[in-house]
């Protein structure tokens, strides 16, 4: 059962010659063939290129090439530009867009020898928490196909959960890696803002967007993040700081680690969900960690802050889609204004237009100070709360989401209710902090996620804490029925 093996185990099998990358790639392509029509997790399949890349990886290995991702298949979220391959961002606007270059994340994983199987479905322009805003239709949750997989990286999450690839890339602007990871029972990592390059990643909210990874375990995620992270001169907000060796510290003892329990995350949290978090805390205490309660008084304002800052940045970023240089153009425009407005009106879906208009409103004359500037001030208050908390504790812990996966169609017509799904994840984006979600049990037979948040550049510690939890539990090894 190749799809149940870790990246480390797959690498050993490839090194020993027990399997080839071509065989491994065929195995996952066959799973995609079998399961994707029911899940709608992938929207572009690159089977031919994958088999060629796998053959090249096998040849490289035969010639002495090495590396933990050499010949390992993956799926990219369709927000990352892939040279010569359609990059739609889940939108009609880019339905016919063939990216002319590789995103840095794509290039780095290609250099590491990873084999792209295809591109994952996603909420349109990463705006959504349920993967229902995609032009290509909703992604189904493999644990229950009447439920959403979360969003915006819903295709990447569902594909990882159904073992359609050993790992997948994603992006997280307000929780778009951690929330779907929680709702599909996989491990998802959102690194520190600036840790992974944003070059070639289609922009939504530039001060919040960050690329990361979905994997079956923290140990696998550490291997992938190692290949993705690092300074990129082509991203003006990339951080020029050395990347630690993430796999090397996975098993460091947790004795003396101080974990802060976020009081605000438990206000109104359903008892069964809270019980899972308290079970996890017991495990951490048994591993030698100390747990204390901490408060971030401004955290409840993180959702309204986000829904000013993110739409404001989105309205500016998405102004590039004008029907002139790339993307959708309306039929028979009567003049230039008609070309702009109809191309945008017809090319963007409902939620994207809603966010562009929200952003336009909060940036418009007379409202800028009241909304945008005020939100930026509250953003600092929230960030200062986190800074004060990290003066007392090493990591913060809490739930990733308020509830398990909800029904497809349940929230799509009520944007504010949908936005509240991200109540526990948005704070880390506003403050630029790394966060990680890992499976911690089930409510109503659906997976729930435990969230760890750390100070800037603490990915190694987050992965270490997650790995030791996964050594002590087996939630991350549970597989949805029918996909074993």
């Amino acid at each position: 059962m190749l799809h149940t093996l870790s990246i480390g185990e797959l690498g050993r099998n490839l090194n020993s010659g027990q399997i080839s990358s071509v065989e491994l790639t065929r195995h996952f392509l066959a799973r995609i063939e079998r399961f994707n029509s029911a899940l709608n997790a992938l929207i572009t399949l690159t089977a031919e290129q994958a088999l060629a890349a796998a053959a090249a990886a096998d040849a490289a290995r035969a010639a002495g090439g090495q590396g933990p991702l050499l010949g390992i298949p993956l799926i990219h979220k369709d927000i990352f530009c892939t040279d010569g391959v359609r990059t739609s961002c889940g939108s009609r606007m880019l339905d016919n867009f063939i990216a002319p270059y590789d995103a840095t994340v794509v290039a780095k994983l290609k250099t590491a020898g990873a084999v792209m199987l295809g591109k994952a479905n996603m909420d349109e322009f990463a705006m959504g928490s349920s993967n229902e805003t995609s032009y290509y239709g909703p992604v189904k949750n493999p644990w229950d196909r009447t439920k959403v997989p979360g969003g915006s990286s819903g295709g990447s999450a569902a594909a990882t959960a159904a073992r359609l690839a050993p790992f997948a890339t994603g992006t997280d602007t307000g929780g778009s890696i951690r929330q779907p990871a929680a709702l599909t029972g996989v491990t998802g990592v959102k690194p520190t803002y600036g840790r992974v390059s944003r070059y070639g990643m289609i922009a939504f909210a530039s001060s919040l967007d960050q690329a990361g990874v979905f994997a079956q375990s923290a140990a696998d995620a550490a291997i992938v993040l190692q290949a993705m992270a690092g300074f990129d001169p082509r991203d003006s907000t990339s951080i020029d700081a050395p990347v630690p060796n993430y796999p090397a510290t996975l098993s460091a003892p947790l004795a003396g680690l101080k974990i802060g329990l976020l009081r605000e995350f438990f206000d109104g949290l359903e008892a069964r969900n809270a019980a899972l978090i308290h079970e996890a805390l017991k495990i951490y205490r048994s591993l030698g960690a100390e747990t204390v309660e901490v408060s971030l008084p401004h955290l409840p304002l993180s959702v309204p802050t986000y829904y000013v800052v993110a739409p404001a940045e989105c309205s500016s970023n998405l102004s590039r889609f004008d029907g002139v240089r790339f993307g959708y153009r309306c039929e028979n425009p009567k003049d230039l204004l008609d070309l702009y407005t109809r191309s945008r009106g017809e090319g963007f879906g409902a939620e994207v237009k809603r966010r562009i208009m929200t952003g336009t409103y909060v940036l418009s004359a007379g409202y800028f100070d009241a909304y945008y500037l005020q939100a930026q001030k509250v953003r600092r208050l929230i960030t200062d709360d986190f800074r004060a908390a990290f003066a007392q504790v090493d990591l913060l812990i809490g739930p990733t989401t308020p509830t398990p996966a909800f029904d497809i169609g349940a929230k799509i017509n009520d944007p504010v209710t949908m936005y509240l799904n991200d109540i526990y994840t948005i704070g880390a984006n506003l403050a630029g902090l790394p966060g990680l979600s890992l499976p911690c049990g089930f409510v109503d037979d659906l997976p729930m996620g435990l969230q760890l948040i750390g100070p800037h550049f603490s990915e190694a510690k987050l992965l270490n804490a997650a790995h030791l939890y996964q050594e002590a539990t087996d939630w991350h090894r549970r597989s949805p029925h029918g996909y074993e």
Partner: protein, 106 residues
């Protein structure tokens, strides 16, 4: 007077407000779509209005999550090669290397 009082609460956007926003955003909104946006944008504006409760007197606005970052400069040397044919392959209409749009000047 606080901006909160200035705006009034609850804040209900009118159809004219949404038409103006859509024009600023260069989005054509159909007659069918319009009522949904009037309702949903009003509920979003009311929701984010909660921010007015925060005491932010002399707090500095935060535009970037990592303080102390500054715009990097690089040497003024050519770093890009010409890819215009590849890039323009994605354009809806191109002639002689130029993007074609409806006539602007009569």
């Amino acid at each position: 007077m606080s901006w909160h009082a200035l705006l009034g609460n609850p804040m209900n956007l009118t159809r004219q407000d949404v038409e103006k926003i859509a024009h600023l955003a260069r989005l054509s909104i159909t007659a069918q779509e319009m009522p949904v946006y009037v309702t949903s944008l009003s509920s979003i504006v009311n929701f984010v209005d909660e921010l007015s409760r925060a005491q932010t007197g002399d707090v500095l606005p935060m535009a970037h999550p990592l303080d102390g970052q500054h715009q990097r400069l690089r040497a003024d040397v050519v770093s890009e090669s010409d890819h215009h044919e590849k890039y323009q392959a994605n354009a809806p209409a191109v002639q002689a290397g130029l993007y074609v749009v409806p006539r602007v000047i009569e």
